[in-house]
C-alpha cells in the first residue's frame, strides 16, 4: 500500500477547479482522503489527502496538466495518513471585534498556554473596508477544562474583543 500525500493547490478562484483536479486524480487511480477547500479572500485554496502514487512528487506531476492552464500553484508533501482517528473537540471559541493587529497571536498564544489544542480554525474579515471586523472560530480540545480557557482570554476581553467559550457536549447515541 502506498503512502499518503498532502496536496496543496492555490490560485485565483473560479468554478470547476475541484472538479478538474479530482477528475484527473480519479483517472490516474488515486484515492482521496480528507480535504478542506476554502475561498480565502479571492483565492482558491485546497488541502487534499491523496493516496496511490509512488511519491508526493508523482501526485504533483499528475495534477500539473490541469493546474497549469488554470494558473494554479501546486505543492505536495508526503504525510502519514492516520485516518479513522478523529480527535473529538470539547470546546468551541468564537472571537470577534474591530480588526487590528495581533488578535490571532494574542488569542492563540494564551490558549496554547492554557492547554488548548486547536483542531479547526477559521477566520474571516467582515464589515466594511473602512471599518473591518475580524471573526475567528475555533474548535479544539481543552485539556485543562473550559474555565482555564476563559481565564486565559480575560486579558484580551479587556481590550474590547468579544469572546465566547462554549463546551461542545457531544451526544453519542
Amino acid at each position: 500500500m502506498s503512502g499518503w500525500t498532502m496536496l496543496t493547490i492555490i490560485g485565483e478562484d473560479r468554478p470547476g477547479i475541484v472538479a478538474a483536479v479530482t477528475k484527473i486524480l480519479y483517472e490516474k487511480g488515486m484515492n482521496l482522503g480528507e480535504a478542506s477547500m476554502l475561498r480565502l479572500g479571492g483565492a482558491f485554496t485546497i488541502m487534499l489527502m491523496v493516496q496511490g502514487a509512488a511519491s508526493a512528487d508523482d501526485v504533483a506531476r499528475i495534477v500539473q496538466p490541469v493546474a497549469e492552464p488554470m494558473g494554479l500553484r501546486v505543492h505536495a508533501d508526503p504525510i502519514e495518513g492516520k485516518l479513522h482517528d478523529h480527535v473529538e473537540p470539547n470546546a468551541r471559541i468564537t472571537i470577534f471585534g474591530a480588526d487590528r493587529a495581533g488578535i490571532v497571536a494574542k488569542a492563540t498564544g494564551a490558549l496554547a498556554e492554557a492547554g488548548y489544542n486547536i483542531s479547526l480554525l477559521e477566520t474571516d474579515v467582515g464589515g466594511s473596508q473602512v471599518e473591518p471586523i475580524y471573526i475567528m472560530q475555533m474548535e479544539g480540545v481543552a485539556s485543562r477544562g473550559i474555565q482555564s480557557l476563559k481565564d486565559s482570554l480575560a486579558g484580551l476581553a479587556r481590550e474590547g474583543v468579544e469572546i465566547s467559550v462554549e463546551p461542545i457536549d457531544t451526544m453519542i447515541g
Partner: protein, 170 residues
C-alpha cells in the same frame, strides 16, 4: 444478558423504518435487557435503538442520568415512542455508535413531549429537554430509518456572515 453486536452504516438495516411492537412479553423484556447492556458498554452510553443491533422494532432506551447538571427522567425505555410536542431548537454535536469516528452538528427540538409504552405495557408520557431530549430524538430517528448524518448542518453554524445590504441612494 448479553451485549449485542452493533451494526454500522452503510448497513441498509439502519436506513429501514422499524415496525411497532405488538406485545410487551418476556422475550421483549429479555431483548431490552440485552439492548441496555449493549448501550452501557458503548462509548456514549446514553442511548440506543433496536435497529442498531439489527432488530427492526420500535424500541429504544435513553438514560442521561449519569451526566452532571443534566435534567433527566432517569432510565427510560421507549416502546413505540411518538413525539407529541416540540418546542424551540438548538444546535448540538452528535455522534453514533453505528457511525464510528465521525461527529457533526445537528439541530434538534430543545424540549419535547413524548408518549410510549413502558416495560409493563402501560402508556407513559415524558417531558424532556436539552441533552435528554436530543438523545431521545436521535434514538427515535433510528426507528424511522434516519441517522444524524441525515440532519447535519454547518460545522461552524452559530455565526453566519450576512450579505451587505445596499443603503438607499448607493
Amino acid at each position: 444478558m448479553a451485549s449485542l453486536p452493533i451494526i454500522t452504516y452503510p448497513d441498509s438495516r439502519l436506513k429501514t423504518p422499524s415496525e411497532p411492537v405488538e406485545k410487551v412479553d418476556e422475550a421483549l423484556l429479555a431483548f431490552i435487557a440485552d439492548l441496555e447492556q449493549t448501550m452501557r458498554a458503548g462509548p456514549g452510553g446514553v442511548g440506543i435503538a433496536a435497529p442498531q443491533v439489527g432488530r427492526a422494532i420500535r424500541v429504544a432506551i435513553v438514560d442521561v442520568s449519569s451526566r452532571k447538571d443534566t435534567p433527566n427522567n432517569g432510565r427510560v425505555v421507549l416502546i413505540n415512542p411518538e413525539i407529541t410536542k416540540w418546542d424551540g431548537f438548538a444546535v448540538g454535536r452528535e455522534g453514533c455508535m453505528s457511525v464510528p469516528d465521525y461527529t457533526g452538528a445537528v439541530i434538534r427540538a430543545e424540549k419535547i413531549e413524548l408518549q410510549c409504552l413502558d416495560e409493563l405495557g402501560a402508556e407513559r408520557t415524558y417531558q424532556m429537554e436539552g441533552f435528554e431530549a436530543r438523545a431521545a430524538q436521535h434514538e427515535i430517528d433510528h426507528l424511522d430509518g434516519l441517522l444524524f448524518l441525515d440532519r447535519l448542518v454547518s460545522r461552524s453554524g452559530d455565526l453566519f456572515r450576512r450579505k451587505a445590504y445596499k443603503k438607499k441612494g448607493e
